[in-house]
Structures are given as structure tokens and as C-alpha cells.
């Protein structure tokens, strides 16, 4: 059991490292263990160096195959964290309810919340109004809008990267590349399907609400049950597409020998994605701070505050986001570095010769 800790740590080193230094490292570890050095300390030392070797790639042979694989994995490390974190951030910050402590606006009704003013939908008799927002609530609104825009931009950047990746798969030497290229079309098809389903769902949803004498709202028109079913189906499809995109990206990075042009584009996509992920993290951190500040302030009469149904999850998501940003930035840095080595030495020509 204790021995396996060292073994596990040794297996954390990259393949090229183990090939070059594995045997002598095992001999050194064996000598240290026989003199009574703690296995845990040895394993921790190895683990730290293994992570460092993976991140920095120091001592890696300078050949195209290894550097291209490293570039692909680094691009994946720079882009996947956003894909993992973005849905959770969107779920937490995407749905907002504004509340007023006066009778002018009804609690629990969705309002329009934007950079340029906040339209509060009161009763139909009052129409749209622009109530005062507390500073913390204003910051919440601006930061959540920023997050929405950054999410959209990152999504478009990743979509263009995915498109270039598909093209790269088609031109690679990987066996079954046509089937893989067809499979990699799936995320695009799923996104289109989700858009279509959303349009149909909005068409099936109730068109209006009417208030009864006892104050209850009833839906008028549409097919609420069908709309709800379609909503569930959309969510299921979105989750399947999300997991499929992540799995495909990792599989392609590990197995497919993408051509240099696709790698170069992937490097640029990874740098832009890491920068956008960092900006999104700052926006999310601002949102979290504003949420806490809003919770601590005393409500003024007439001001409107925002609440989010899943805001209790802000801390674990912020923590996951911080880890994601670190991984993403490290990935982009490595992708840049690996590609620079490949392009400065024109290593791909040595491979084609």
C-alpha cells in the first residue's frame, strides 16, 4: 500500500520523462527507501516534480511529434476549463429577480436588467418604470451583463476554433478521420437544435397571464405542458452536447495528429480563450462581491434589489472558476511556448521529410 504511493507518483511523470529518467529515478528512490526515508515524503517530492515537468516540459526532446502533442494538450487545457465552468456560472447569474420593498413593484417577477437602465415591469396599468437601484445592485447588473457578453464572445471564439479543428481532423493522417470529422459536427448540430427547440418552446409557452380576483396568476393560451416537456428535452440535449464537446476535444487532443496550420490557429484560440476566461473570472468575482455587499446593506425605501435563485452556490463556483482560470492561463502559455519552438525551428518540415 505504502509502496504504491511512490509508484503512483512516478506514473504522474510524462511519458518522455519516464523514458529518459525513469530507470535512474527508480534506482534513487529505491536507495532512499532502503535507508528509511519516508515514502510519503518521497511521493510528495516526486508528485511536485511530475506536475512541474508536465507544466513546463523541461528536458523534453525537441521533436515535432512530442511538441505537437504538447501543443494540442495545452490548447485543450486552455479551452476546456471555460467549457466546464461556464454552464454553472450561467445558471447562477443568468436568472435574476428584482424586488422592491414598496408596493409599486411586485416581488418575484422577472424584470429587464441592463447596462442602460432597468425596466421594471409593474402591473399592466403602470407599464415600465425605472426605479432606483442600490450601488451593489447596479454592480450586480453590470457584472452579470458583462458575463453574458463575455460568455457569448468566448462561445463564438471556441466555435471558430472547433471549426478549424474539424478542418484539421479532415487533413490529418489519423485513420477513421472522416468518421471523426463527422462526429465532431455533432456539437454544432446540437446548438442549432437547441435554438430551434427554444423558438418552438417560446411559441408553445403561454402568451399572457391574467390575474384572478383572489390575486393568483393564470396562464392564457399556448400549450404549457408541451412547452415544459420541450424545455426538459432542451436541457437534456444541452447537457449531452456539452459533455460530448468536452470528451471529443480531449480525444482529438490525445489521438489526432493535427496539421501545423490547425495547431497555429488553436494556439491563437487558446490565448484568446484564456484571456476571456480571465476577464470572465474578474466579472464573476465582482458579481460575487456585489452579491455579498447587497446582502449586508440595509434596504432603503423604494430601492430595488436583485436576487438569484442559485446564488447560494457562488463560493464553490468561484473556487472552481479560480482553478479553471489558472489551468487555462497555464495551458495558453504552454501552447504559445510549444508552438514558438515548433515554428522557430520549423520542426514540421523535419517530420514531412
Amino acid at each position: 500500500m505504502r509502496r504504491s504511493r511512490v509508484e503512483i507518483a512516478l506514473r504522474c511523470y510524462p511519458h518522455w520523462w519516464t523514458e529518459r529518467y525513469g530507470e535512474e529515478m527508480r534506482a534513487t528512490v529505491g536507495d532512499l527507501a532502503s535507508e528509511g526515508r519516508s515514502d510519503t515524503m518521497i511521493a510528495l517530492s516526486l508528485l511536485r516534480d511530475a506536475v512541474r515537468s508536465r507544466v513546463r516540459g523541461r528536458g523534453m526532446p525537441q521533436n515535432y511529434g512530442l511538441l505537437a502533442a504538447r501543443t494540442r494538450m495545452s490548447i485543450t487545457a486552455a479551452t476546456i476549463p471555460w467549457l466546464v465552468v461556464a454552464p454553472f456560472v450561467t445558471v447562477i447569474t443568468g436568472q435574476v429577480f428584482l424586488h422592491s420593498n414598496t408596493s409599486g413593484a411586485r416581488s418575484g417577477v422577472s424584470y429587464y436588467f441592463s447596462f442602460f437602465g432597468t425596466g421594471v415591469l409593474g402591473t399592466s396599468a403602470h407599464g415600465y418604470r425605472h426605479p432606483p437601484l442600490s450601488p451593489a445592485t447596479q454592480v450586480l447588473g453590470v457584472s452579470s451583463q458583462m458575463l453574458s457578453w463575455l460568455t457569448l464572445i468566448t462561445f463564438l471564439v471556441l466555435a471558430s476554433g472547433w471549426s478549424a479543428c474539424r478542418d484539421g481532423v479532415k487533413h490529418s493522417t489519423t485513420p477513421k478521420r472522416r468518421r471523426l470529422a463527422s462526429t465532431s459536427r455533432a456539437p454544432f448540430i446540437i446548438v442549432l437544435l437547441i435554438i430551434v427547440m427554444k423558438i418552438i418552446q417560446s411559441d408553445l409557452s403561454p402568451h399572457d397571464f391574467r390575474e384572478t380576483k383572489n390575486g393568483q396568476s393564470i396562464a392564457i393560451g399556448g400549450h404549457p405542458a408541451a412547452a415544459a416537456l420541450l424545455g426538459d428535452a432542451t436541457w437534456t440535449l444541452a447537457i449531452v452536447g456539452w459533455i460530448l464537446a468536452i470528451a471529443l476535444a480531449i480525444w482529438i487532443a490525445r489521438k489526432v495528429d493535427l496539421p501545423p496550420l490547425a495547431l497555429r490557429f488553436g494556439r491563437s484560440v487558446s490565448v484568446v480563450t484564456a484571456s476571456l476566461t480571465l476577464l470572465s473570472f474578474f466579472a464573476f468575482a465582482t458579481w460575487c462581491m456585489a452579491l455579498v455587499a447587497q446582502g449586508q446593506q440595509l434596504p432603503d425605501v423604494g430601492t430595488v434589489t436583485a436576487s438569484y435563485p442559485h446564488d447560494a452556490l457562488w463560493f464553490p463556483v468561484a473556487l472552481a472558476f479560480a482553478i479553471a482560470v489558472t489551468v487555462s492561463v497555464l495551458g495558453a502559455t504552454n501552447a504559445k511556448r510549444s508552438w514558438r519552438t515548433i515554428s522557430s525551428q520549423r520542426l514540421w518540415s523535419s517530420q514531412t521529410n
Binding site: Y21, I42, L44, S45, R58
Partner: protein
């Protein structure tokens, strides 16, 4: 109470290069040599992290091994870098000790 942080100022690179000035050594021998020189317990990960970097920079080179233990030796460039670093350290040490002596006499 002496600061614990002072113990960390010993640069592992200098320690490994200094150990190799005594002749080619394999990983375990370097660890034991550094332990006897400074009392510092080197982990195998730390040692190989330094060795890989030094080998990449051409300051040490691996020799052919007869068994699993591969010995390393310091190169000419490594010796030059080490000489320069040690001379700087000696200069700093000399100034520091002289000034400490002056402080003690006043």
C-alpha cells in the same frame, strides 16, 4: 530566534553543481553528498528537477551507466558558472562578515 526562511536561501542548483565538483555522481550519491555538506534533505523530485534543468542548459552531462544508476558530471560551462556564482557569494559573505565584525567591535 533565527528566521527559518534563511535556510531556504541555499540554491539547489549551486548545491548540485558543488557536489559534482568532487567527481561524477549518480542521484542518490548527490543527495547524500548535499546532506553531509549542508544538512539539507533533498527529495528525489527536487534533485531531478534541478538535474534536468542543468542538463538542458549544458551545465552537467549524463555519463554512460553500467547499471540503473546513471552518473552525472559537471561540464566546463557548468564549472565556469559555478565559479562565478561562488565568487559572488564569497564577496557578499566577506562584506557581510566584515560589517558584522565592525558592528560587534562598536
Amino acid at each position: 530566534m533565527p528566521s527559518k526562511r534563511l535556510g531556504r536561501t541555499q540554491d539547489p542548483t549551486i548545491l548540485v553543481l558543488t557536489s559534482l565538483t568532487g567527481g561524477p555522481k549518480h542521484g542518490y550519491a548527490i543527495i547524500k553528498d548535499i546532506e553531509s555538506m549542508t544538512g539539507t534533505l533533498f527529495g528525489p523530485g527536487t534533485l531531478y528537477g534541478v538535474l534536468v534543468r542543468l542538463e538542458e542548459e549544458g551545465l552537467v552531462e549524463a555519463l554512460a551507466s553500467t547499471d540503473r544508476r546513471r552518473p552525472y558530471r559537471i561540464t566546463g560551462q557548468g564549472a565556469a558558472v559555478l565559479t562565478e556564482r561562488l565568487q559572488t557569494s564569497m564577496k557578499v559573505a566577506a562584506i557581510g562578515l566584515r560589517q558584522l565584525g565592525a558592528m560587534g567591535s562598536t
